[in-house]
């Protein structure tokens, strides 16, 4: 099992969603190397999962592992802030 487990909720192929995916992958490759897993969920295709997780905004990133779990919204453009929230050293 990878050290980092994250779920990223996006809405179709909007530019905001694409930016969030790109920003997150770039950052993870840089600081987590290969030790991470991202599950990408498109709320337009799977609104039921958005309902279960009570997602309001897109993009929303859920950090499930390691604890504590965090909920981050936005296109993740500020990588320093994101690193701080994710607790990556």
């Amino acid at each position: 099992m990878k050290q980092y487990l994250m779920k990223l909720f996006i809405a179709g192929d909007s530019s905001r969603s694409e930016r969030a995916v790109k920003n997150l992958k770039q950052l993870c490759d840089k600081v987590m190397f290969d030790d991470y897993e991202i599950i990408i969920i498109d709320v337009l295709e799977q609104p039921n999962i958005a309902e279960e997780e009570k997602i309001i905004a897109t993009p929303t990133l859920l950090k499930l592992n390691p604890y504590p779990q965090r909920r981050i919204i936005g296109d993740l453009s500020d990588s320093d802030k994101l690193l701080g929230i994710l607790g990556v050293k």
Binding site: F9, A11, G12, S14, R16, R19, A20, N23, V43, L44, P47, N48, A50, E51, K54, I55, I56, A57, T58, P59, T60, R70, R71, I72, I73, G74, D75, L76, S77, D78, K81, L82, I85
Partner: protein
């Protein structure tokens, strides 16, 4: 453009509301319901869906909640008699839970939108084929997010997108004052086609709920504030008084007042659908006339209903027995019912609604309210007038004969405050007056008004006789000024001369 596109109305099923909305909410459009905290916005938003489910088309409804959790709403609405969980099981009700979650700490990193919320709402609407949707309350989203300009932009987008779903939508919004901006964040009113304001105003130490339709874009509605009440088991009931139409027919059928002489004075009895006001000081015999009116009806097989706000059941029974009327037996026979209540037990709106529901279930031919003055004590001037208009038109509509009593302030002469309000609404007015003559107190009565009929213009003496009730005697002669309380004697020859003046 010379053709007219009519905007169809969706009857909401909320009692009275469809009347002031001239048929209901504009179908397929978005209506904003704005009010201060505690103004029954969530009840309105829920009831809109409830009535859709209970209506003949059994329409599904989606409630998007931004403030209270679904569990709280289920529990709160249960007290109004709505079993939301059952409708959820039947696939008629669906929550979209956008309420704040205690374990969600949300950090904002960069730009976001509400596509997920919109996708969830659309998913819910499609899932149960909803025709009605409520969003309660939109502005609460602002507290979840730091970036308020984004929230503003996105709420606008959500509001606009909901219109494409082919549903009739209702959004609630919080107001900060009763008479000020429509909604706190301003964004709500821009996405809505229609605006309804709920108020919860402190009026002369009494709380008074009112509803006002501020605008219906492109279609008509009644204007002004209408009182409403939130009733357990029913929800919001709007008292749409001024919206009532003056369309009642006028009956020419006469019924007895319960007193033969009084019938004669009224030109052969009261009209079947008329409203009689009996006004007099304390002890002049108002309750006695009420008793006679009800007993007279019951004798003819009519169903009679009495609302007593001054005396207890036992007192009423004892009084009636003293006048030779057996209330107890009348009740046993099933054509008579007494409803006693202290005026202070509720607001006038509450009384109005309970009186109406008693009328609906008992279906009386006659109704008496003893006394209106007691009810007036617990109301403000405006709501009392609205109450009277509502009650009189409601019973006239159903061709029920009504007798109301009003207590005059001064012992001799004078009018009652109640009387001023109601006199134009009644068909007949009977005045009961003390007359001080030659050092003793006697009683006089007159029929002041009898709409649509000749009547006796004399002031006649009457007495109250044990076991028999009211005995009407001869007209007072040679005295004038009984009604004003300033009695003076008129010499017989002057009286003859006066009468002579008006002869042909």
């Amino acid at each position: 453009m010379n053709h007219k596109l009519q905007i169809e109305k969706l009857p909401t099923g909320i009692a009275g509301f469809d009347k002031i909305a001239n048929g209901g909410l504009p179908k397929g459009r978005t209506t904003l319901v704005a009010g201060t905290s505690g103004s029954a916005k969530t009840v309105f938003a829920s009831q809109f869906l409830v009535e859709g489910i209970l209506g003949k088309d059994n329409e599904g409804g989606v409630l998007v909640t931004f403030e209270e959790s679904p569990a709280d709403i289920r529990r709160n609405m249960m007290s109004l008699g709505w079993a939301i969980d059952e409708w959820e099981r039947d696939g008629k009700w669906l929550f979209v839970d956008a309420s704040p979650q205690a374990d969600h700490n949300i950090d904002e990193v960069g730009d976001f939108d509400f596509s997920a919320l919109l996708a969830r709402i659309e998913y819910a609407v499609r899932k149960i084929d909803a025709k009605r949707i409520s969003l309660d309350s939109l502005g609460a989203v602002f507290s979840h997010f730091a970036n308020s300009s984004t929230v503003r932009r996105e709420l606008f987008r959500v509001g606009t997108a909901v219109k494409q779903f082919g549903v009739t939508a209702l959004m609630t919004a919080e107001r900060t004052s009763e008479y000020g901006d429509i909604a706190r964040y301003n964004v709500e009113e821009f996405v809505a086609d229609n605006v309804i304001i709920l108020r919860n105003v402190l009026d002369d130490t009494k709380r008074r709920r009112t509803m006002e339709i501020l605008k219906f874009r492109g279609t008509s509605h009644q204007k002004g504030e209408f009182p409403f009440s939130v009733i357990p088991g029913e929800g919001i009931v709007v008292i749409a008084l001024s919206a009532l139409e003056l369309e009642q027919r006028s009956s020419t059928v006469r019924i007895t007042s319960g007193n033969v002489d009084m019938d004669e004075m009224c030109g052969g009895g009261l009209f079947r659908d008329s409203i009689v006001l009996v006004s007099g000081a304390t002890g002049t015999g108002k309750t006695l006339m009420t008793t006679g009116f009800l007993a007279g009806g019951a004798r003819n097989g009519e169903r009679c209903l009495l609302f007593a706000f001054e005396e207890s059941r036992e007192q009423l029974m004892r009084n009636a027995t003293g006048w030779g009327v057996d209330y107890e037996q009348m009740e046993k026979d099933g054509n008579f019912k007494i409803v006693c209540a202290y005026p202070e037990t509720g607001s006038l709106e509450d009384h109005y609604i309970s009186i109406k529901s008693e009328i609906d279930s008992f279906k009386p031919n006659r109704l008496a309210v003893d006394s209106l003055s007691a009810l007036e004590r617990v109301s403000t001037r405006n709501s009392f007038r609205e109450f009277l208009i509502g009650l009189t038109s409601y019973i006239k509509h159903q061709e029920i004969a009504g007798l109301f009593t009003a207590t005059a302030q001064s012992l001799t002469g004078g009018t009652s405050v109640t009387e001023e309000h109601i006199s134009t609404l009644t068909d007949s007015i009977v005045l009961l007056r003390y007359v001080e003559m030659g050092g003793e107190i006697r009683r006089g009565l007159t029929v002041l008004k009898m709409r649509g009929s000749m009547h006796d213009k004399n002031i006649r003496e009457y007495s109250i006789v044990d076991g028999k009730g009211m005995q009407i005697g001869q007209p007072f002669r040679h005295v004038a000024g009984i009604l004003t309380g300033n009695l003076r004697y008129v010499a017989p020859d002057e009286l003859d001369r006066m009468s002579g003046l008006f002869k042909d």
